[in-house]
Structures are given as C-alpha cells and as structure tokens.
C-alpha cells in the first residue's frame, strides 16, 4: 500500500501566535529586500510588466486646469426617481454643514463645507429637461436609488445623459434600506444593486448606504460619513466645461420698469441672474445660451461680493460663524435678497403701528417719517437749493453733471484767490518743485515714445511711475495746449500763478491716467508717419502733447494702403552715419566669449575665446592677486572647463532627463497654469475683466435684455437655470455631421427626416437628421432608417459645435411613451455649410433600335438637355452588358444613342445608376421648456406618424408604389428557319434533321412479354412478400398514432395544470403588492401626488 503524504502544516490565522507573526511582517520587505527578490526571471519580468501596465492605465491626457485660485462652489446634484429621498438628503446634509433646518428647497443651496470648499446642492426633479441640464453642470452627482424598489429607468436615462456630456463624479446612495426586515435579503439586494451600479459606472464605484429615517432625517453618523466623502472628493476637469464659461443661476430678478409691464404685460423683460461663474472666464460681450430659453447676449455683468465666502485661510477650524448658507430662492430664515442688499424681515419697533396715538421715541419717529416720504431723494434734491455765500446766488437744479462741476470750479477759484495771499511765503518751495519738473522734462527729451514714429500729430508719453503720470498736473494731461508750456519762461521766471483757474480746472478734469491701453482702445488715435515734418529730432514736451489736426490726404504713409510695413524715413537712417550711434548698438549683438553665458542656443560655443578673454583679464589683475587667489581662480576655471567638456562629451545633459514625456507635459501645463494665475494679479478688477474676462469663482450678476416675459412670469425655481457661455464660432449655424448610434435599449429604429431632440453643447433643440452611411469610400449614401446595432452618420442643421462633442437624442421631452427615452447617442465629426449626402437614382429605358454595338434608347430621358447632362455616363442592361450614353437624337425628344460592349437584345431593359444629392431640412427649434407654464409639456414638431395617429388620418399611398402581381408571359421562340439552299450545302452532321412526330407507338413498346414457369413463380413470390410487409407497416402505423394521441393528451393535462398554478401565484403576488402599495400610500400621507407617479 502506498504511503500517504504527511499532513501539511497549517499556520495559525488567529490567536496570539498569529498576532506575533503579524507584528514582524510589517516592514519585512523594506528591511530585507534581498529576501523578497523574485526567484525567477520570468516572474520578475511578469510582475514588472504588470506594474508598468497598471502605471500606464492610470495616466490620463493631461489638461490645463483652468479653475481659479478661489474656486466656485462645487455643484452637488441630487438625482433620483421621485420618492427616493432627495429632499431629505439635502436637508440632512445642509443641517450637517450649517445647523440650518430648511423647510423647503427651491433652487440651489450653497453652503460652506470647509476651510477651502463650498458646496452648492441642487435637487433634480423628474423632468428629463432638468436632468439633461443638470448633467451638464454637476460636478458631483449623488444618485439616489430606492433599494426596496431597485433601479428605475430614470436612473439609467440619467447615466446615459451623463455619459454623452462628459462624465462627472457619480456616487450612488441606496435609500429605504430599513424596509428590509430580513438581513440576508438586504445583503443580497445590496450586492445585486452594487454589481449593477458598477457595470453602469465603473468597477469599484462608490455606493453609499443610508438606512432609515430618524426624525425625518437620515441618521447623523451616516450623513457625516457621506459629507466627509463629499468634502475630500477630487475632480478632473471635463473638456466641455474646461473650455466654456457657465453659471448656475441661484437667483433671478426682473428689472423691467413696472410701468412698462403694466402698459404692456407681454413686453420683453430685462432680467438679472445671479450666480457663481464657473468653467473658463466669461467675456463681457460674449453670447450665452440659457437652456430652455435660447441664445441671449449679455447686457451687463457686475461683480458682487461673495454671499458665501470661504473663510480666510489662516484659521484651523471652521468657526460656527463661517458656516454660511446661501439659498436665495428657498426661504432661509425670512431673508429677502435685493439687488445689492439683503433684507431681514423682522416685524419690530420701526414698523408703523396702526395706533397713531402711541408714544414713540425720537429715533423711531425719524424712521417712520422717512417711511412717509412721498418723493424719492432725487426728486427732492431737484427742488432744493443751496446758498454757499451770503452774496452768491442760491444753487439749484443740479441737473447735469457739467453744471455741478462748473460750480465746483467756481468754488475752487474763489478759494484759490483767497489763498493766493499766502502764496508768497511758499514761493521758495514751489520753485524747488519747478526745478524738479524741469529735470523731468529734460530727462524726457531723450526718451522716446513707444508708438512708432514720433513726429506725428499726437505724442504719447511714458510713465516713469504711476504717480508720475497721474498726479503732476504739468505732466498728466497729454493733450495740453501749447500755452501751457509758457508757464516756465526761458528766463526761469514763474508764470504759473497767472492761470491758476485753468490749472485748477485741469486738475479737476484730468483725474484719469492716460496710458497706452487707453490710447489704443479708447481713442481713435492713429500715428501716421509724416516724414515731411522736421521736428523728428527735437522731441520735446511741447510736441509731445500737441494735438495737431493734420489733413490726412497730404500725408504720405503706408498706413493708408493697408500694409503692415512701415517706411523708415531717410532722415532717420542718416543717424547710422555716426560712429557713436553705430557703436551703441553693439550691445545688442551676441559675440562669443564677451557675453555672459547664453544657454543652449550657443551651439558653436568653443572655449578658446573664453580662455583668451580670461587671460587678458588675468594679465591685468595678476599683479594685484596673491598666489592663493590665483590658484582659486585657476581651480574654478578648470572646473568650468571640465564641466563644459563633460557636457559635450556625454551629450547635452538636460535638466529634464529622467522625466517621462507625460511628466514633462504635465510640468509644462502646470507652468502655464501658474502663469495664468499670476499674470494679472496686480491689475485692477476692471482691467482684469477687460483682458481675461470675469474669472470663475466670482459671484456675479448678469443682466439680460429682451428676455421673453414668460421666463419671468412662469418662473419656477425648481427648474435649474443655466447660463452657458458660447465661444465665437458657436453662435453660428450650419450642417453638422455626426456619428450616431441608436441606443440599444430604444425600441424603435430612427427614420430619416423624423424630428429628433438633440442635447448638444449647452443646447437642447429639435432638428431633422438625415442618416447616411459612408459606402464604398466614395459617397455618403442616405439611409432611410438607422441601422439596428451599428453606428451611422447623421447630418442635420444646428448650432456649430466643436468636433468630438458628445450628444444624446430624445424623441420627446414631454410624455413618456417609451420605457427608455434616450433614442440615440453620438459625437460630432464635421461641420460644414453644405452636405453631400446622396441617394441612388436608377433611370431605365428600352432600346428601340439595335445595331451591332450601338443601340438607340428611348424612355430614359424626356429632353435632349437631360441627355446632354448625362453624356458619357455608364449604363448597363439587366443581362450585364455595359455601355455608355453617347448623344441625344435630334428627333424624338429625349431619345439617345448609346454604345455597348456587345449587342443587346431588343427585350433588354437599360438602366443608368446615378446619385442624387439629398439636402437635410434647415430646421432648428430650441426646446424652450422654461417658458412654459408646465415645464414638462414642451411639444415640438410631430412626426408624420404622430400626426396621423392623433388626427386619425390614413396614410395616402402612391398607387404606383403598390406591388402588383407579376405577369410572366411564356416566351415563345420561333423555329429556326434554315434556307433550303443553305441546308443543302451543309455537311450531314450539321444538317437539320427533319423527323416528323410519331403517331403510333413504336414496335418496341407494343411487343408482348411472355414469362416462363420459373419466372412466373419468382414474380408471384415477390408479390407475396411485398403484401406481408405492407400489412405489417399499416398495423404499426395505426399503433403509433394511438400512442401519440395518448401522449399529447397527457402533456396537455400537465400544461393546463402549470398555467393554473402560475395564475394562482400571480394572483397571490399582485394581491400582496397591492396591499403594500396601499400601506405605503397611507404612510406617505402628505405627498400622495409625488408617489403616484411611480408605476
């Protein structure tokens, strides 16, 4: 008997011994790496490869992160079918973050969640339009799933919408877990739902479990965990949002004049929308699209103070005071928001009481009087007068600013005159100032303006510093008169006191600093070169600020002939005759050795020159240096040379060495991002807004004019309002070619020219796509229907959107006809102003005369013009003989001559295969769901089928399109006739054999068969055998039939039993289900309407 192997040792998994072992294994690999070296090369290679694979898998295409240094709040969208607990979740989270109890949630709720992070919660209602819009802006989606019910179609629809518009972070939240009484079933359900969720998003996607409600909110601990997950979540920029500015409006205000609305209730409104800017920077004059409304242009943007600011970063913990909440459309503690202010509605002491006799304090009385004011402040001011001096006339009616200013100037004047008595004492000081000014002048004489060709009508100055330009009244005004220059006489006397008034006026008017940007953008100043003028050399102040009106026609300048070249006048070139001027420029040239090192660009850099240079320097210094110092210098030099040699010998040693391509790219992007942030840091907000636009993260108010009145009148804060910025090219319309695939869950295939709702870019619109397939690599052939499981192309008219933008399609946004509403998804491929989709056109004709290779064809064309167009076209007969259209015949119109490769038959049908261009319909209809009373009831153009169904119309069919029974006549061929003369001369073999048909049967068939005895016997015996066999077979057949009948009967009985059982089971199930529903409805109580939607 074989000896069995000894029992293997089983190490302990638990207990003190196992604990002891575990302690030592902690840093084992680190402490003793040799022991963990792979034993086989193959394994090592395999592990290495796997690690590399994993590393590569992690990489994403690096993108510039254009988010601002103070990012806008993260949009957390809470999405789910009705009854899954969205509102409860938001309330719980808000309570967790801010200790606020929200009674109702209307529109976005912004809270400060941490030292560096703010969150905007938004609830997504069950409208597909809202789902589409929110999918485009949400940074994080909390996908609520009723675990007791399972996944619903809305969830899958929403995930598909997300997929086509760039996938934001999604976190699943299972609710209603308390409905499971059985823990095993709970575990099982969790597992099943998790697996399904993972297949939909990615393996390992986070799914959160919320057990039942406590006091109408989720348990504290679970919400805390969820909030922690939210607070540490990282986001990757999505391409569309990284290239477009957008804003989720959290407040809407109608700014239209109430009087205008009263007179004309349907007038277009002026509306302001408030919110945090997101994505890229929004330019002031850019176009935007508000999904559900349409394209609008921005009237005005203004930056408002952040209503929910991040606390300053120095503090360690978030103070209670900083845990702010901002939800202007939800009612948070009786706070009302107005244009620039927040009002708290508190009925208090200042409210006027009904009882007039009541005693009130002095302050209260004052406020109450103010409440009584019948006129506005402006109106009162108009009526009031002000007398400054006893002698002077009372000032009244300050209607215009200029009046106001001139009055002010008068005041100044008077004051100045009063002061002038004292002026003598300060003379000395002012003289000193004057000298300074003079100095500045002299310095400026050498300076040159930065604008080409100084000898023009106007001169620009350089600012030594800001104050230099803006504050000294002598220097600041670049358009000063010549007279102004008189104030410092050649003799040095001071005349400046003479025109104090003008100076005061100037001082008053010229508060604005004139700089280069103003000059370029705010004036129409144009420096034309004028070589005739002589002042080119003596650039001095008097010319610098002159405004000369020069007749443009007399100037000779290339600036008038639309060229970027600028002529250099001869006079200016003359300066190069001077040796000193020539020498001055030497510093601009790179001479090897003399310069400080110039980096990598110096390929030819050899060090002979360097050495020579050093030697010469050393010779001069040698006497002054001690031996040690000299040695130091030598050592340094040697080291430098060695370094250089090494560099050359080993090849260019890059700093980037050791970095992968990916790393260098990322570094480059990080550098760009750093620069983007730092470049305009020092500039004023106005300048920044002008140059880079309004940055993401700022809280702004955007004013729109011409907003349809329905937007305001039928405004419902539950539906998100998104302001999506459009790039320059996206305002235009054209034909888009897209790659499209019918969604595999969609029931029907899609028909060409049936209206379809696209969600592309920011927009939702209805259009009529034309499906096509690129066939034979040459033509784009129209398809009547989309293929079932394949991508195809579609061409439609719509807004131009960059290539590679994803989209999804819906057949209707109003009613739910299909179980799954996403009809198709795809991506934009090409943008064009024309489309080249074709469909096949077959023209047929018949020959009416056939020659050897030529045939005359009729019935294909109706005019010779048509023939002329198709000359040279390839034609073919049904039998496959190819040919060509030659020329039209003069006589019967439309007949033509054609040639073929062989002789065709008169009975042949000839056809011409041509391609006919099909134009997509120019139909674009934005889904204006926000302008409706019932936002979910938007109706676009109907399909033919829909119209027929709704109007009870019958399809009008073309009679020619009906299939008719095919009549195929038997073809009769005539006998071959061979002339007698020819037949006679043929050889015998080919001679026609003329045999007439026999009337009687032949002799062979007519003969009698006589069998002999033996043969008769055999025949008889065989017949007998056959009879026996036949009898047997007949019996077996009967028996089989009997058996079969019995079997069928039995089977039928079993089936009947099955059906009965199934029916019973179903009845039981529905009974239970009905009871459950009834219980739920009873327990939901307050919200029966919401629950009722779920079928």
């Amino acid at each position: 008997m074989e000896q069995s192997a000894p029992k293997a040792h089983r190490a302990r998994n638990a207990g003190p011994k196992a604990e002891k072992k575990k302690k030592h294994t902690k840093n084992l690999e680190k402490n003793n790496p040799k022991a963990f070296a792979p034993k086989s090369g193959r394994n090592a290679e395999r592990t290495a490869r796997r690690n590399m694979d994993l590393g590569q898998k992690k990489l994403h295409v690096p993108q510039v992160d254009r988010s601002a240094d103070e990012p806008p709040p993260i949009i957390v969208a809470v999405v789910g079918p009705p009854g899954t607990g969205k509102t409860t979740l938001i309330k719980s989270l808000v309570k967790r973050f801010t200790k606020h109890n929200l009674t109702e949630i209307n529109g976005p709720v912004t809270v400060v969640s941490g030292k560096t992070r703010r969150l905007t919660f938004i609830e997504c209602n069950n409208d597909i339009n809202s789902m589409v819009d929110i999918g485009k802006v949400a940074d994080l989606v909390l996908l609520l799933i009723d675990a007791s019910y399972g996944f619903e179609m809305e969830t899958f629809e929403f995930l598909n919408i997300l997929q086509s518009h760039g996938f934001p972070k999604v976190m699943g939240v299972l609710t209603h877990l308390d409905k499971f009484k059985d823990s095993k079933r709970l575990r099982k359900t969790k597992k099943v739902l998790k697996q399904r969720f993972w297949t939909e998003i990615y393996q390992g996607a986070k799914l959160f479990y919320l057990s039942g409600l406590i006091n109408g909110r989720y348990p504290k601990n679970e919400i805390m965990n969820l909030s922690r997950f939210i607070s540490v979540m990282k986001f990757r920029p999505l391409i569309w949002r990284n290239t477009h500015p957008y804003m989720l409006a959290d407040r809407m205000e109608d700014l239209t004049d109430p009087e205008k609305v009263r007179v004309e209730p349907k007038c277009d409104r002026t509306v302001s929308l408030y919110g945090y800017l997101r994505g890229t920077n929004l330019k002031a004059n850019s176009k935007v699209h508000i999904p559900g409304v349409g394209d609008l242009s921005i009237e005005n943007i203004s930056i408002l103070p952040d209503p929910c600011p991040i606390p300053d970063k120095t503090r360690k913990l978030l103070n209670e005071k900083h845990k702010l909440i901002y939800a202007p459309m939800s009612d948070v503690g009786g706070i009302m928001y107005d244009k620039d202010a927040v009002y708290i509605n508190v009925p208090g002491a200042f409210t006027k009481s009904q009882n007039p006799d009541e005693e009130v304090g002095y302050g209260e009385k004052m406020v109450q009087n103010l409440q009584d004011a019948s006129q506005t402040l402006e109106e009162t001011m108009k009526g009031s007068t002000l007398q400054i001096f006893n002698s002077s006339k009372p000032l009244a009616n300050l209607e215009e600013e200029s009046d106001y200013e001139s009055d002010m100037e008068e005041d100044f004047q008077e004051e100045d005159e009063e002061d002038s008595d004292d002026e003598d004492e300060t003379d000395y000081e002012s003289e000193v100032e004057e000298v300074d000014a003079n100095d500045k002048r002299n310095r400026r004489k050498v300076r040159k303006p930065v604008v080409e060709n100084e000898n023009e009508e106007e001169k620009i100055e350089y600012a030594d510093s800001d104050s230099d330009m803006g504050l000294d009244d002598d220097e600041e005004d670049p358009f000063e008169d010549d007279d102004e220059e008189v104030d410092i006489g050649i003799d040095g006397t001071l005349h400046w006191k003479e025109n104090l008034i003008e100076q005061a006026e100037k001082r008053f008017n010229s508060t604005k600093r004139v700089n280069l940007m103003d000059l370029v953008y705010n004036t129409d100043y144009m420096p034309y070169d004028n070589p005739e003028s002589e002042e080119y050399e003596d650039v001095d102040d008097s010319d610098l600020f002159k405004v000369k009106k020069v007749d443009n026609h007399k100037i000779k300048s290339l600036a008038f002939v639309d060229t970027c070249k600028v002529e250099v006048p001869d006079e200016l070139l003359a300066e190069w005759e001077d040796e000193d001027t020539l020498d001055e420029l030497a510093s601009r040239f790179f001479i090897k050795g003399t310069e400080e090192k110039t980096g990598e660009n110096d390929e030819e850099g050899d060090f002979e020159d360097l050495e020579k240079q050093d030697e010469t320097q050393e010779e001069q210094q040698e006497e002054e240096l001690t031996l040690e110092e000299q040695r130091d210098i030598n050592a340094k030099r040697k080291e430098e040379l060695k370094k250089k040699f090494d560099a050359q010998y080993d090849g260019e040693e890059d700093e980037d060495e050791g970095k992968t391509f990916y790393e260098t790219q990322k570094e480059e992007l990080a550098r760009q991002q750093q620069m983007n942030r730092e470049e305009f840091e020092g500039d004023s907000p106005e300048v920044r807004a002008q140059i880079e636009g309004y940055r993401a993260g700022t809280y702004v108010r955007i004013v729109f004019k011409n907003m349809p009145c329905e937007f305001v009148e039928l405004f419902n804060p539950e539906y998100p309002v998104i302001v999506g910025g459009l790039l320059a090219s996206e305002e235009q319309f054209g034909f888009l070619q897209v790659r499209i695939k019918k969604h595999r869950w969609g029931r029907k295939i899609l028909k060409t020219n049936d209206p379809l709702i696209f969600s592309l870019g920011w927009r939702r619109f209805q259009t009529m796509p034309l499906y096509s397939l690129f066939s034979e690599a040459t033509r784009n052939r129209m398809l009547k229907y989309t293929p079932e499981h394949m991508h195809c192309l579609a061409t439609f008219y719509g807004p131009i959107t960059p290539q590679n933008t994803g989209f999804c399609c819906l057949q209707s946004v109003s009613e739910r006809k299909e179980a799954f509403r996403i009809a198709a998804t795809g991506v934009v491929l090409d943008i064009d102003r024309t489309s080249e989709v074709v469909k096949k056109l077959k023209l047929t004709g018949t020959p009416y005369k056939v020659f050897k290779n030529t045939a005359f064809v009729k019935d294909m064309f109706t005019s010779s013009l048509e023939v002329a167009k198709m000359e040279g076209a390839a034609i073919r007969t049904v039998s496959g003989i190819r040919g060509q259209v030659k020329k039209a015949l003069p006589k019967p119109e439309g007949y033509f001559r054609a040639t073929f490769e062989d002789k065709i038959l008169m009975s042949d049908i000839i056809f011409l295969r041509a391609w006919y261009p099909v134009k997509p319909k120019k139909y674009y209809n934005p889904v204006t769901s926000l302008l409706l009373q019932e936002k979910t009831k938007w109706k676009g153009m109907r399909t033919n089928g829909q119209i027929r169904r709704e109007e009870n119309l019958k399809l009008e069919q073309n009679k020619d399109s009906f299939y008719k029974p095919i009549e195929r006549k038997t073809r009769r061929f005539n006998k071959l006739q061979i002339p007698k003369s020819l037949a006679s001369s043929l050889p015998f073999a080919t001679k026609p054999k003329l045999l007439s048909k026999r009337n009687k049967p032949s002799l062979l068939t007519r003969r009698a068969v006589v069998k002999d005895a033996e043969e008769k016997k055999v025949t008889h015996f065989i017949n007998q055998l056959n009879t026996v066999r036949n009898e047997k077979a007949a019996k077996a057949k009967v028996k089989n039939a009997e058996k079969r009948a019995e079997y069928i009967k039995k089977k039928k009985a079993v089936e009947e039993m099955d059906v009965m059982k199934r029916k019973e089971r179903a009845k039981e199930y529905y009974k239970q289900e009905g009871q459950k529903r009834a219980r739920e409805a009873a327990s939901a109580g307050g919200r029966p309407a919401k629950k009722a939607k779920k079928q």
């Binding site: 280069l516 300048s557 290339l558 600036a559 008038f560 970027c564 600028v566 140059i691 290539q803």
Partner: protein, 380 residues
C-alpha cells in the same frame, strides 16, 4: 425666439484684409461702407456692388485645398498671401496655394520676408510640419510675372506663446535677388550690406538669388531682405526693393523721362506708390544694400521679440490660442498693429494689456486666448 444675426459695420477702404480675415475666423458677418467714396478716380470696389462703395460679407467654411490665383499688378503677392498665412492653418483640408504676380515691392511685404520671418514664427504656435513657401519665379514691379507656391498644414488648436526674451542677435541672414539684370547687381548689394553688418557680428550670410530665363518674371528688378536671428530665435527683418523712378521727379530730366516711359507704359505716379515717402530708385545697388542694412539696424534698435511686419500675426495667434496667457514684446507699435488691436477687440472681444518697459523701451503685450479651435477640421 429668433436671434437676429449681428452685422458688424465698418467704414472706409483701409484695413480691408484684416477685417475679412477676422470676420472669417470669428464667424461674424460684416458690412463695410463708404469704400473710397471721396476718391473721384477710383471710387469703391467696382466689382462688388452697384456703387461699389459697400460690401457685406457672410463668412462660411474655410475649405482650403489646391488654389491657383493671379494677383493683379496693383499689389504685390504679399498683400494677398499675408491674410492667407493667417487663415491657412484653419482650413478644412491642407492648403496648397499658387499665386502669380509681383513678388517684391516696397509697399507690401515681400515673399522672401514671409518665407523667412512669418512662417518660422508659426512654428512657435504649433503649426510646423509641412509649412513651405516656394518661390518658383520672381516678378518685379511693374509687370510682375512671379510665382510662389504656399503649402500649409492644418491644426486643431494653436499653442499659447510667451515670448518676451529678445536675446542678442547671433546671426544675420539675407537674400539678395536679381532678375533681368546683371547678376553682379546682387553681389554688389550683398557686399555693401555686409560691410555695415560685419562690424557687429561675423556670422552674416546673404544669399544671392539670380533668376534667369523663364523664372525671371516680366520686369527687371533687384531687392534685398535681411533677417537677424537672436539667441532666443527672435526674428528681426527688413527689406528693400529697387523701384523705378517716379514720374514727378522725372519732370526735371526729360531724357530719362522719355526712356522711362518707353519702358514702362504704365504711369507710376498715381496709385499706391504715391504713398511711398522715399525714393527707391537707387543710383547704385550699393545704396540699396546700405539702406537695407541701416533699416535693419533701426529695427534692431527698437528691440522686442517680434519685428514690425509680424506683429499682427503674433497678436492674432495669441488671441486665437487656448484660454491661456500669451505674451510678446514689441519694439514699437506700428499704426497697422494699433488698428489690428482695435479690430481684434471688435471681433473677438480680446483686449491686450500693453505694458511699456521703460528700460528697454519696448512694449509687452499680454492677453488671454479665446480658445479658438479649428471647427473646419474633420475628425474621424
């Protein structure tokens, strides 16, 4: 709700090209009115509308492909090629363009400068592989007869450029061409220009380009274009072409006048050449060489990383870049550039920050791109 298509309105004939280019790139429709209404002789654009003084332009798709065009003799090829250099990277299919006409004159940028200065600068913006300008034939004023072939690849998006380090001039290159004249002319031009420039730097190389026979165009002429390259690859260029004497000056010398008129039946005084301030009828080729070299020194003295003729292109491509900061340094803003800045603002809403640097007497122009992508390009 119907949004009306906006129509940007402009006045006058000047800056015609840039408005068309910007309209095409930004997709905005424009109307230009009052084109030379006060000019009695050449009122308007006679081919465009009834009065010829206004036009409306609705931009479409830039298709590209192979194009052959004969430029009129009133403007040089540079006038037509310049805007196309800006449009070419954004075509649907790569552009292969052949232009016939005048290759060098003193009004428009010559094809040499476009080849050696403008095109290398496109590489900085990421337009690199396969960009080429080939000068097949030379054509001088007045009869032209030159031919160039321009090929340009297409890109999806430009790269942001920050180029403010002007560096030091490390080499100077140039091309002296000569057609229908003694080849010695080109050599003499080179000699004199080198004489001035080698004072600063030994690495001065000016190619002579003498065209003969079929390739030499219809008129005699010679010209020099110089490019200084800095250690940071900044290109500073200048150029000068020989241009026959003007009529006004001819009045004094009857003899030469007759000679001139017999050679050039087209009168020179009217039209665009009247806008030239200087006389380009040099007595000797050395004068042209010296003048061009001095012009180059003037241009170098201005400083900056971008020279006068390529300012507009850099500004345009910074504007068209991704939404990142781009900047360049220029020595002096030319009138053309100033108008370009204004038009960029009108079409794209982009404002440049103009930062004067008083130390080097240059201006740093900084802006953020609009995130322009080539929407014409097809993806598969």
């Amino acid at each position: 709700m119907v949004v009306k298509k906006e129509l940007l309105k402009f006045q006058g004939h000047n800056h015609f090209r840039q408005r068309l280019v910007l309209a095409t790139l930004s997709g905005k429709s424009i109307r230009i009115q009052n084109i030379r209404t006060d000019d009695q002789e050449h009122t308007g654009l006679t081919e465009i509308s009834y009065t010829g003084t206004s036009l409306t332009y609705h931009p479409g798709v830039i298709s590209g492909g192979a194009i052959n065009h004969d430029c009129p003799k009133t403007r040089a090829i540079g006038y037509f090629l310049e805007p196309l250099v800006a449009l070419a990277p954004f075509c649907k299919t790569p552009l292969s363009l052949t232009l016939n006409g005048i290759t060098n004159d003193n009004i428009d940028v010559s094809v040499d400068s476009i080849r050696t200065v403008l095109l290398p600068q496109l590489q900085r913006f990421g337009v690199s592989d396969g960009i080429e300008l080939k000068i097949n034939k030379r054509g001088a004023v007045p009869n032209g007869g030159g031919q160039v072939t321009f090929t340009c690849p297409i890109v999806k998006q430009l790269k942001p450029v920050q180029f403010t380090d002007s560096g030091l001039i490390k080499r100077i290159r140039g091309i002296a061409y000569c057609t229908r004249m003694s080849p010695q002319m080109a050599n003499r031009v080179v000699e004199s220009a080198r004489g001035i420039l080698t004072r600063y730097i030994p690495d001065v190389y000016i190619y002579t380009d003498v065209y003969k026979g079929n390739e030499s165009g219809a008129s005699p002429g010679y010209a020099l274009s110089l490019v200084a390259e800095s250690t940071t690859d900044a290109l500073i260029s200048t150029e000068c072409a020989y241009q026959p004497r003007k009529k006004a000056k001819l009045q004094e010398f009857d003899q030469s006048k007759m000679f001139q008129e017999s050679v050039n039946p087209v009168a020179e005084e009217e039209g665009l050449s009247s806008m030239l301030a200087n006389d380009y009828n040099f007595p000797t080729p050395e004068d042209l060489g010296v003048r061009t070299a001095r012009q180059l020194l003037t241009e170098i003295k201005k400083g900056g990383t971008v020279d006068t003729i390529s300012q507009w292109l850099n500004l345009l491509f910074i504007t068209l870049g991704p939404e990142d900061v781009g900047k360049i340094r220029v020595g002096a803003l030319s009138p053309f550039t100033i108008q370009y800045l204004r038009d960029l603002k009108t079409f794209f809403g982009t404002t440049f920050k103009l930062n004067p640097d008083k130390e080097t007497r240059t201006v740093v122009l900084t802006s953020v791109g609009v995130g322009f992508t080539n929407i014409n390009k097809k993806v598969t």
